[in-house]
């Protein structure tokens, strides 16, 4: 009967299929959440389209085709060069718009599935009533969820609705990528922005669930310092290596070690996000490094048992691990690798099979079982593998003699490292170039497989760099998760007023030329200049892999509280949600804007008032693209490093195009010039210097107070001078009136910009939403 009533409600009073669940969700918490519902709870594709079109009118899609063809269906492939259309009628802009959506929705699906898996596991282990608890100082526990869905989740099971919503929207978005659906690049982009937003929501769901249930740090500024680097793993002990993004199998390894008192006798290390998560779970866990360390560390054979879960797992991990005698356990249905599924087999039998080598790689889809099997197997296997750990340097280097200097490896290197020359020089007795390669190399292995003479190029590089690898030992502060409400209260005003020049987020993967030091250099510069510097994912790990002249990493040098001059490690990629969440919370806590189901207003607030910018220096994956696109929909601009051009799409403003920069003045509804701030939503830069100056410019907002703008201009000018050697050409666009100029340069600049016809303008109370005029909310 009970059930019937629910169905009745569903079919009569709700048009959306999600109806039933929404009803449940809302009903439950409406009891104690007074905040009125905004206009777009659980927004569908069309609900926020008008917002997207506003963004896309100002920041127009800029497309760089990576291929001249489309090969999506059997009518193709179709040549779409320079105006040609495919057999389905699409043109190149449409095709890349479609690709942009496809990338974003692939990314969003990965994070949604991650959230779904985690939630399943945590509900199973801890019950659906496990409260969502981010600590006493984090009252707005789920800013993104509140904002987008209009619910206030109180316990794990409340998040189920959100996941269902995500899966429904993702399916609809994916559908639009099929041949014969959407046709206009602007609408593909609007859908990509929707996918991006969903991705950010998925990140939050995943992270608040695991923080709540697994006792991860809850916004602590002083999380433990964890060891990171290929040199930190003690190869004498049995070693378990976790790869991927889902902490559950790894945390169960640690749980089992704790239970059995084995903790400390077995090394538990990770690569990529799982590593960051393990570091949040236990300070004894070690971090090998970002994705650039994955293949090389596996090849070193140090891991006795390799646990792969999902996301960011190299496609050759199983094969390579087995090759060096490691055993592999695959734990997620996202990555089964063609392996036998032993989930239902008796634990000790699996251990025996692994130890004997009868089964070298298996599937176990039960994190608790994985934990027990991995530990037991590692103990049995490690002694047998003692002589398989590490390279035989001489033997490997001898392989350089096969090199014919054909440069196929060089031509296949994604960042054009002349690794062929280095190998060949080593062949002639001088390995020094190999050591140089080591510093820049992404560890991707393309050189290897392209060598016609079977030189194991990457292994040669690494074997030559053995000492460097051993010295790879750094400290990183474990991810702290959310930003506390108290911190937001402290910095909200100075950020919005511009007194803290901006929030700069370093996120994303390790796909860039020039090595990781560029990242650290940039972070250092902004921290020094008292920006709020935030980092996550592989970028957070790569920033750690650098020591200053005093032998300190930036995490040792700068504090971890969310305030001017900090370096905050949020955590793994899912923790990116907290960067966006912090910005959203500024709108809520400082500016007292309603969050609930109120996406447009908050994004508009962020775009016009909060000087945050992200630098995804090594953006690689579909996930990186969807996160960036999501940030964009929230009004947060993103700067990509040079490899990011291969995402194929930017959102560029045109600073001189007056019409694009008109905003409503909320005070009187007039359309007034707000200036090109931020100038772009998504752009690619070539050098770290350019990234820094660009970031210092992109934190400006139409709403900056004179004092705030002055500080921002001061940094922009100073960085511009320091790095470019001159004053910015476009400075006049950012000076609203004389008070915006720092005294030290006022006269000089005024003179110049007046020559250019500069006139002062009024500072508006800026908004792109006509309904926000007159303070209307």
């Amino acid at each position: 009967m009970v059930t019937k009533i629910n169905i009745k409600e569903l079919t009569s009073s709700h048009l959306k299929i999600k109806g039933l669940e929404l009803t449940v969700g809302r009903f439950v918490e409406s009891e104690d959440w007074a905040e009125p519902m905004g206009p777009t709870p659980y927004p569908t594709i069309m609900d926020l389209r008008e917002w997207d079109l506003k963004l896309l009118k100002r920041y127009q899609p800029f497309y760089s085709p990576l291929s001249d063809f489309c090969e999506f269906c059997t009518f193709g492939k179709c040549d779409l060069t320079a105006g040609k259309r495919g057999a389905c009628g699409i043109d190149m802009a449409g095709h890349i718009g479609k690709w942009s959506l496809l990338q974003s929705v692939m990314g969003a699906s990965a994070h949604t599935t991650h959230a779904h898996h985690l939630l399943n596991f945590l509900i199973k282990q801890y019950g659906g009533d496990q409260p969502i608890d981010l600590g006493s100082e984090v009252e707005i526990e789920a800013p993104i969820t509140r904002l987008i869905t209009g619910i206030k989740p109180k316990k794990l099971s409340d998040l189920i609705d959100v996941v269902n919503y995500l899966e429904g929207q993702i399916t609809h978005l994916l559908s639009a990528t099929a041949t014969g659906q959407e046709q206009n690049y602007l609408d593909y982009e609007s859908k990509a922005l929707h996918a991006g937003m969903l991705d950010i929501l998925a990140l939050e769901v995943a992270d608040i669930a695991q923080i709540s249930a697994l006792g991860f740090p809850k916004g602590d500024a002083e999380t433990p310092l964890i060891e990171v680097g290929m040199g930190v793993v003690e190869r004498e002990k049995p070693v378990i290596l976790c790869i991927g993004h889902n902490v559950a199998p790894g945390s169960e390894v640690i749980n089992y070690l704790d239970e059995t008192g084995l903790y400390g006798q077995i090394e538990v290390a990770g690569v990529c996000c799982t590593a960051s998560d393990l570091a949040r779970f236990s300070k004894g866990a070690k971090i090998v490094g970002p994705i650039s360390r994955q293949l090389r560390f596996i090849r070193m054979g140090i891991a006795d048992v390799v646990i792969v879960d999902q996301e960011c797992v190299r496609a050759d991990v199983i094969e390579e691990a087995v090759k060096v005698g490691s055993r592999v356990i695959a734990t997620s249905d996202q990555l089964v690798g063609g392996l036998p599924n032993l989930t239902n087999m008796d634990e000790d039998t699996i251990v025996q099979k692994l130890a004997s080598g009868d089964a070298k790689a298996v599937v176990i889809q039960d994190p608790v079982k994985v934990g027990r099997v991995a530990v037991k197997a590692a103990q049995l296997i490690a002694p047998l593998r003692a002589n398989q750990k590490g390279y035989d340097k001489d033997k490997v280097l001898a392989k350089a003699s096969l090199c014919s200097l054909c440069l196929s490896c060089t031509k296949n290197c994604p960042i054009g490292i002349n690794v062929g020359l280095a190998v060949n020089t080593a062949k002639r007795g001088d390995p020094s170039l190999l050591l140089e390669v080591f510093d820049e190399c992404l560890g991707c292995g393309r050189c290897d497989s392209s060598c016609p003479n079977d030189v194991p190029v990457l292994t040669v590089v690494d074997a030559a760099s053995e000492d460097k690898i051993k010295r790879e030992r750094f400290k990183i502060r474990a991810g702290r998760g959310p930003i506390k409400d108290t911190e937001i209260r402290n910095v909200g005003r100075p950020i919005v007023m511009g007194e803290i020049p901006g929030v700069v987020v370093f996120a994303g993967c390790a796909n860039y030329p020039g090595g990781n030091n560029h990242l650290a250099m940039m972070a250092d510069e902004f921290a020094k200049r008292r920006y709020i510097v935030v980092t996550s994912g592989c970028a957070a790990l790569d920033i750690a892999r650098y020591k200053d002249e005093n032998g300190q990493t930036l995490y040792e040098k700068y504090p971890g509280d969310f305030d001017a001059g900090c370096i905050v490690n949020l955590g793994p990629c899912v923790s990116n949600a907290h960067a966006v969440g912090a910005v959203v919370k500024i709108a809520s806590i400082f500016a007292k804007r309603n969050l609930r189901g109120n996406f447009e207003e908050i994004a508009d607030y962020i775009l016009n008032r909060i000087g945050a910018v992200a630098i995804a220096w090594g953006s690689q994956h579909q996930k990186a693209m969807s996160i960036a696109t999501g940030a964009n929909r929230f009004g947060i601009p993103v700067i990509l490093g040079p490899q990011g051009v291969k995402h194929r799409r930017a959102y560029l403003g045109r600073s001189e195009d007056y019409g694009r920069w008109l905003v409503y003045n909320a005070k009187d509804g007039q359309l007034v010039y707000g200036g090109p701030s931020p100038e772009h939503l998504l752009c690619v830069v070539e050098t770290p210097e350019e990234a820094m100056v660009m970031a210092s410019k992109m934190v400006m907002r139409p709403n900056d107070t004179p004092k705030g703008r002055m500080i921002k201009i001061s940094n922009y000018v100073s960085l511009h001078r320091q790095l470019y050697g001159c004053l910015p050409e476009d400075l006049h666009l950012f000076v609203r009136d004389e008070n915006d100029l720092p005294v030290t340069i006022k006269e000089e600049v005024l003179q110049i910009i007046k020559q250019r016809g500069w006139k002062p303008i009024e500072i508006p109370d800026p908004t792109l939403l006509s309904r926000m005029v007159m303070g209307g909310r």
């Binding site: 291929s67 001249d68 040079p642 051009v645 772009h680 830069v685 070539e686 050098t687 350019e690």
Partner: protein, 177 residues
């Protein structure tokens, strides 16, 4: 049969591929440009370019042609000695303007009829050229990189360092002739 192939093994494009030309012809072609824009990428200070004396080459080209220089901002500092029209740019947003037929150039005097590229990472430059090839097919693009760039309209072949370095010299000579 010789065949122009892109340097990067995975950078195969088509069917509209750059014509390969000799450095000398590059020089002559540049001379004929009415409004030449030179786009200098963010890697122009990398070892190879320095060893080939690219900056000096560019200086001579500019002197001869009155070209406008659009310099990737991160390396702008190195061009302080250049006295002619020069601008620190984000190359991507420069290309965004280039593909807009209404853009009147840095000086407001009109678009550029000929764009010379040099000094960017191969994939980055390749993508910028692709944008112009697809969305501004009427703009003439030339790259003087050491490696063949199929997305340009004109490109050198893949060359050894020495031949490239000498080629740049030959290019300028042809221009100055």
């Amino acid at each position: 049969m010789s065949k122009a192939v892109p340097w990067d093994e995975a950078e195969v494009r088509g069917p509209k591929l750059a014509y390969t030309i000799t450095p000398e012809n590059c020089g002559r072609m540049i001379r004929r440009a009415k409004r030449l824009l030179i786009v200098v990428g963010g890697n122009i200070l990398d070892e190879e370019y320095t060893k080939a004396g690219t900056l000096h080459i560019l200086e001579r080209i500019v002197k001869k042609t009155n070209a406008t220089l659009a310099i990737s901002a991160g390396v702008f500092k190195a061009f302080h000695r250049f006295e002619d029209a020069k601008y620190a740019v984000n190359v991507e947003s420069l290309v965004d303007r280039l593909k807009d037929g209404n853009w009147m150039g840095f000086d407001g005097k009109g678009g550029y009829d000929f764009i010379l590229f040099v000094g960017s990472l191969y994939p980055f430059q390749s993508m910028m050229l692709a944008t112009l090839k697809h969305f501004a097919p009427n703009i003439r693009t030339l790259t003087i990189e050491r490696y063949y760039h199929p997305n340009a309209e004109f490109s050198l072949e893949n060359l050894s360092f020495e031949r490239w370095r000498d080629g740049l010299e030959a290019l300028v000579k042809a221009l100055e002739a």
